[in-house]
C-alpha cells in the first residue's frame, strides 16, 4: 500500500538563522517504511533537485540509541506510544495527511540546523554527577554485593532511559526532570551508587537548572511520551534525593 502525504518541515540554515515551516509533497510512500526512511526518500528527491536535504538526527534506527528526535504532529517522536521516531512506521498515518515536523523546542536544546538540536546539555548534566567512582583493577566477583531484586528491577527500569530528550520536548515547561530523575534513580537504587548520592543529587539538579530547563509541574506529559516508559515515580525519588541532600544531610552545595 502506498500513500501521498504533505509534509510541513521546519527548515533553518543554522543556529543563528531565522527558520520557517516549508511544505513538501511526497507521493507513493510505502506504508511499511519507517518515518526516517520516508525522510530519506524526501532527501533523495531534494538532492536530485539540487536542494539542500533536511538535516535530522538518527543513528541506530533500532530504538535504543536515543539519537532521533522530531516533534511530529504535535507529539515528541510522533503519535505512537513507547516509540522513538525511527520505530514509527508510515502506517500510523493516512493517505492525504498533512504531517508537521518540528525540532524539539527548549532553551536547553538550541536548534543547530533544520530538525537537529544540540542536546549536549544532557551530557553536561551526566558529567556533573551521573556516574560512580570505582577503583580500576580486577572486576569484583558477581553477587559480592547483595542487591534486593525489586531495587535491581527499578534501577534497570530507570537505566532504560536513552537520553533522547522527548520528556523535555513534551513538557509544557521544557523540564528535564524525567531524564535527570532516571539517571539519579538508576544509581541511587543500587549500593554502588550510595557513596556519592547526596553530592550527585545536588550537582545534577544544579546543572539542570543552569542549562535553562524549566521546573516540573507534575503534568506527567513526559511519562506519556517517553519511548522507554520511564515512570514519574523516579521524579518523586529525585525530589526525595534532592530534599534529603539539601535539607537533611550535611553535604554543602558547590
Amino acid at each position: 500500500m502506498t500513500m501521498n502525504i504533505k509534509l510541513r518541515i521546519w527548515r533553518q540554515a543554522n543556529a543563528q538563522a531565522e527558520g520557517k515551516l516549508v511544505e513538501y509533497q511526497l507521493n507513493d510512500v510505502s506504508a511499511n517504511m519507517s518515518f526516517l526512511e520516508m525522510m530519506d526518500v524526501l532527501n533523495e528527491q531534494l538532492i536530485s533537485k539540487g536542494e539542500a536535504p533536511v538535516a535530522f538526527d538518527h543513528d541506530c534506527r533500532e530504538g535504543i540509541c536515543g539519537t532521533c528526535s522530531m516533534y511530529i504532529n504535535g507529539r515528541a517522536h510522533g503519535p505512537q506510544k513507547l516509540s522513538t521516531t525511527c520505530q514509527l512506521y508510515m502506517r500510523n498515518f493516512t493517505d492525504g495527511e498533512t504531517i508537521t515536523i518540528e525540532p524539539f523546542r527548549a532553551k536547553g536544546f538550541p536548534v543547530l540546523k533544520d530538525l537537529c538540536v544540540d542536546r549536549s546539555a544532557f551530557d553536561r548534566i551526566i558529567a556533573a554527577g551521573g556516574y560512580i567512582s570505582a577503583s580500576t583493577g580486577q572486576a569484583q566477583d558477581a553477587n559480592a554485593i547483595p542487591v534486593e531484586k525489586a531495587a535491581a528491577d527499578s534501577a534497570m527500569d530507570a537505566a532504560a532511559c536513552i537520553g533522547c530528550g522527548a520528556c523535555v520536548a513534551a513538557c509544557k515547561n521544557a523540564s528535564a526532570m524525567l531524564f535527570v530523575s532516571a539517571k539519579v534513580s538508576h544509581l541511587a537504587l543500587l549500593p554502588q551508587g550510595h557513596p556519592e548520592r547526596k553530592k550527585r543529587a545536588l550537582a545534577m539538579v544544579a546543572q539542570m537548572d543552569a542549562e535553562g530547563f524549566g521546573s516540573c509541574t507534575n503534568t506527567y506529559a513526559c511519562e506519556a511520551e517517553c519511548p522507554k516508559g520511564i515512570s514519574v515515580a523516579n521524579i518523586a525519588r529525585l525530589n526525595r534525593e534532592f530534599l534529603n541532600a539539601s535539607l537533611i544531610s550535611e553535604e554543602m552545595p558547590k
Partner: protein
C-alpha cells in the same frame, strides 16, 4: 546560609515552597468550609455567628490568620515566578502541539486557574473579610452586631444574606469555586509528588482522596451562596 539560598532558588526548592504552602492552604480550606457550613443548621445564623466570633477573637486563630496571608502571598508570588521561568525555558513554541494526547488540561492550566481564583479572592475578601476585620476603619462601614447569649457578636450571617442576593455575585462565586475545584484536583496529588511521596500503596489512595476532597469541599462552598439565593436558608 548560602546553602539555604541555593536550595530555595533551585527548581525543586521552589516547587517545595509551592507544595508546602499549597497543603497549608488546603488545611485552611477545611477550617473555612467547616465554619461556614454552620449556616446549614438553618438556625437564623446563631451557630455560624458563634463560630465566626470565636474565629475572629481567638488569639491563636488571629495569629494563624497572619501566617495564612503570608502563605497565600508566598504561594501566589512563587507561582508567578515559576510560571515566568518556565515560559523562558521554551523561547520558541511549537507550530502544532497536541498536549491533550499526553496530559490533562487542568494540570497544564494551574497558573490560569490560580489567576481566576486570585481574582475571585479579591472580590471575596472585599465582601467578607474587610468589613468583618476592618469595619469602622479606613472608611469601611462596620457590621451590625447581634446578641447571642450574653455576648454581642458581629452579624456576619446577615452580611452573607445581603451579599448573596445578587445573581451576579452568585455566578462569580460558583465560577470561582469551579476554578478552585480543578486547581485542587491537580494540586492535591501534585503536592505529594513534589514532596517525594510516590508509593505503590499510597499514591492511588492519595489521588482518590484528592479528587473526592476537591469535589466535596467545592460542592459545599458552592452550595452556600446558591442556597442563600434560592431561599433554602433564611
Amino acid at each position: 546560609m548560602s546553602w539555604m539560598n541555593t536550595f530555595l532558588t533551585s527548581s525543586i526548592g521552589r516547587k517545595l515552597v509551592m507544595s508546602v504552602t499549597g497543603l497549608f492552604l488546603i488545611t485552611f480550606l477545611i477550617v473555612h468550609c467547616t465554619i461556614n457550613s454552620m449556616i446549614f443548621f438553618n438556625d437564623g445564623g446563631e451557630a455560624f455567628n458563634k463560630a465566626a466570633h470565636f474565629m475572629g477573637t481567638n488569639i491563636l486563630i488571629r495569629t494563624m490568620e497572619i501566617v495564612l496571608f503570608a502563605g497565600l502571598i508566598l504561594h501566589i508570588v512563587q507561582a508567578y515566578m515559576l510560571a515566568a521561568k518556565n515560559r523562558q525555558a521554551r523561547p520558541q513554541g511549537y507550530a502544532v502541539s497536541n498536549p491533550g494526547a499526553n496530559s490533562k488540561w487542568y494540570s497544564r492550566s494551574m497558573t490560569l486557574l490560580g489567576t481566576l481564583i486570585l481574582m475571585f479572592l479579591v472580590l471575596h475578601i472585599s465582601h467578607f473579610w474587610s468589613n468583618s476585620r476592618l469595619g469602622g476603619m479606613m472608611g469601611i462601614a462596620p457590621l451590625e452586631e447581634v446578641q447571642i447569649g450574653d455576648k454581642e457578636v458581629l452579624n456576619l450571617y446577615q452580611d452573607m444574606m445581603v451579599t448573596f442576593q445578587s445573581p451576579f455575585v452568585i455566578v462569580i462565586y460558583v465560577l470561582g469555586v469551579i476554578s478552585l475545584c480543578w486547581h485542587l484536583i491537580h494540586g492535591f496529588q501534585s503536592a505529594f509528588q513534589t514532596l517525594g511521596v510516590n508509593h505503590k500503596k499510597y499514591t492511588p489512595v492519595i489521588k482518590n482522596i484528592g479528587i473526592g476532597f476537591s469535589i466535596l469541599i467545592c460542592l459545599l462552598f458552592a452550595l452556600m451562596p446558591v442556597s442563600i439565593y434560592a431561599g433554602w436558608i433564611c
